[in-house]
Subunit: 326 residues, 2 copies
């Protein structure tokens, strides 16, 4: 399976690594909007190509993995390139998935290609857990917790405050809330009860720490509904201790069965990831395999994780899966 990567940030580099762990995949080109001569990739034998020349690769690539951002890149790129290639993206703006799906579906059908959107872990594997759990526990309640991990959006929001030089924000699930959910008591949890927010902030010289802390803690939507802790640290400490990309989370469904709904059932799926982009990249590569297989079977159009049978993701044959993984 010949793979192309578009975009060489954390995710693009993660896909490049993931390809090495998947023996049926081969990286054939990295596409970039930058001047290709300025981009050094970790696989020197693979050509770096300006994205303006991507159409020349139409018959040389089986799946193009789109590694851009959901805010501005993917809404344009995925529909555009689904006309030329089987594509996979990690579009993660949950509220805009139906619109993105419609746009991509039209293009992919025009091009006779398969496009798999919104795969990663949330949306992606967490979505699958929600769908399976709801199907098998029709009477129940869903809970999703995120973290511990860095929220890029919240870190950015802090950085926009006057006097802040740099910042990292961790979203942390509250253990007591997790335990209450696991007990089967189906608690109603407020935003504040589910997650806390911990901020590590580097100030500009002469900035007013108390005022920065006040602005963070009262910021609408981002922080005002949470218990937020603010730590002021040096830039050196930020770089040393807070440059990781760990993340994770929990999807839990608490359901009831029985004549009097007297039996509790807890289904829980959790991820604890040292590197969010490297894990997401592996999910993208697994769905690239699915996209290629589905298209080889004659399918076209847009798909999400819920539309694809699990066996399509595996490098193993269905016979082997049936014998050893069921």
């Amino acid at each position: 399976m010949r793979i192309g990567i578009l975009g060489y940030g954390n995710l693009g580099r993660g896909v490049e690594l993931a390809i090495k762990d998947n023996p049926d995949t081969e990286l054939v080109a990295v596409f970039t909007r930058r001047d290709p001569s300025t981009l050094k990739i970790n696989t020197p034998s693979v050509p770096v190509v300006n994205v303006t020349e991507i159409a020349d690769w139409k018959d040389k690539i089986d799946v193009l993995i789109l590694c851009g951002g959901s805010a501005t890149d993917l809404p344009i790129q995925t529909p555009e390139f689904a006309k030329l290639f089987n594509v996979v993206d990690s579009f993660d703006t949950h509220a805009k998935i139906p619109q993105h799906f419609a746009n991509v579906d039209k293009s992919a059908k025009e091009g006779g290609k398969v496009a798999v959107i919104s795969v990663g872990w949330d949306p992606g594997l967490f979505s699958l857990a929600r769908i399976y759990f709801n199907a098998v526990l029709p009477e129940g309640k869903d809970y999703t917790f995120w973290g511990k991990g860095v929220s890029q959006g919240h870190s950015d929001a802090i950085r926009r405050i006057k006097g802040v030089k740099n910042a990292k924000q961790y979203t942390i699930p509250v253990d007591a809330a997790l335990e209450a959910v696991r007990s089967g008591s189906n608690p109603e949890l407020t935003t504040r009860q589910k997650h806390t927010r911990e901020c590590f902030v580097v100030l500009e010289e002469g900035a007013d720490a108390a005022e920065v802390e006040r602005q963070i803690k009262t910021m609408p939507n981002y922080f005002d509904e949470y218990d937020t802790t603010v730590h002021f640290i040096s830039e050196e400490e930020l770089n040393r201790n807070h440059s990781g990309l760990a993340h994770g989370g929990f999807v839990i469904r608490s359901g009831k069965t029985g004549n009097d709904k007297q039996h509790n059932h807890i289904a829980e799926f959790s991820l604890k990831l040292d590197s969010n982009p490297e894990f997401t990249s592996n999910v993208l590569v697994a769905y690239a395999r699915a996209a290629y297989r589905l298209n080889s079977e004659g399918q076209t159009g847009c798909k999400t994780a819920m539309d694809i049978a699990p066996s399509y993701l595996s490098v193993k044959s269905v016979d082997e899966l049936r014998a050893h993984y069921l």
Copy 2:
């Protein structure tokens, strides 16, 4: 969706309950090998029919859910009835799944029907977790833990010992082993390190307790490789405290990514079930929905959970799932 149930034990009664929680399903008949007049079911409006008359129901049932046992019932029943109906079973003898699949596939194709086999939680949802986790973490190690829950096979083995009147055996995962796996250290765990076995035994009058305990603890395959605890209790206490059908377990994959495989990732799926048969029944009903839909689309033959896209299990439309569950 018109559902028939074959077999009215714990699983059959669970399916009958599950149908009430799934608004698109309707129970139309319960089939039994017994004299129908001797069987009182919990839905008095539904006819109880002897299995010898099942062919008369060919056009009145959309999916037949087979609630027999894996040892002797399902190897015969599933191939036989897949010629007449879309069927679902919970065949759980892992080693014999490929043979069962082949037999059922032939029948279902002859009959133009879809048969979904081996759905429940293991095999079933646990199989899905293993397949997804392996696909997205190609470099790693799998662990499955079962319990805390009653093992029917081990309880039966104790009951066959001379002097034993009744017994229940709990399989219990070892917390230290679970924690070691979650740490990402990829431990090699022996059978003894993963699970303990706890036995509650009612003796016949005059039986030799020490000899029964010795026979249990040294029983090859069943107990000799485990740390086993034996409690002797009264029949009254056994019935009062050990008649539950709770079960559960954990599927964990510990994977590594990165240039030097320096990043650990833990994917974990767990179930904690107050009623094993009622939960399994709900899984059967969700896959009955999938079987019916797949057959309505023109598909035939045998499928397992890994062959079926998640959206087929849900009562909700794909548009609703895309908007609210991804």
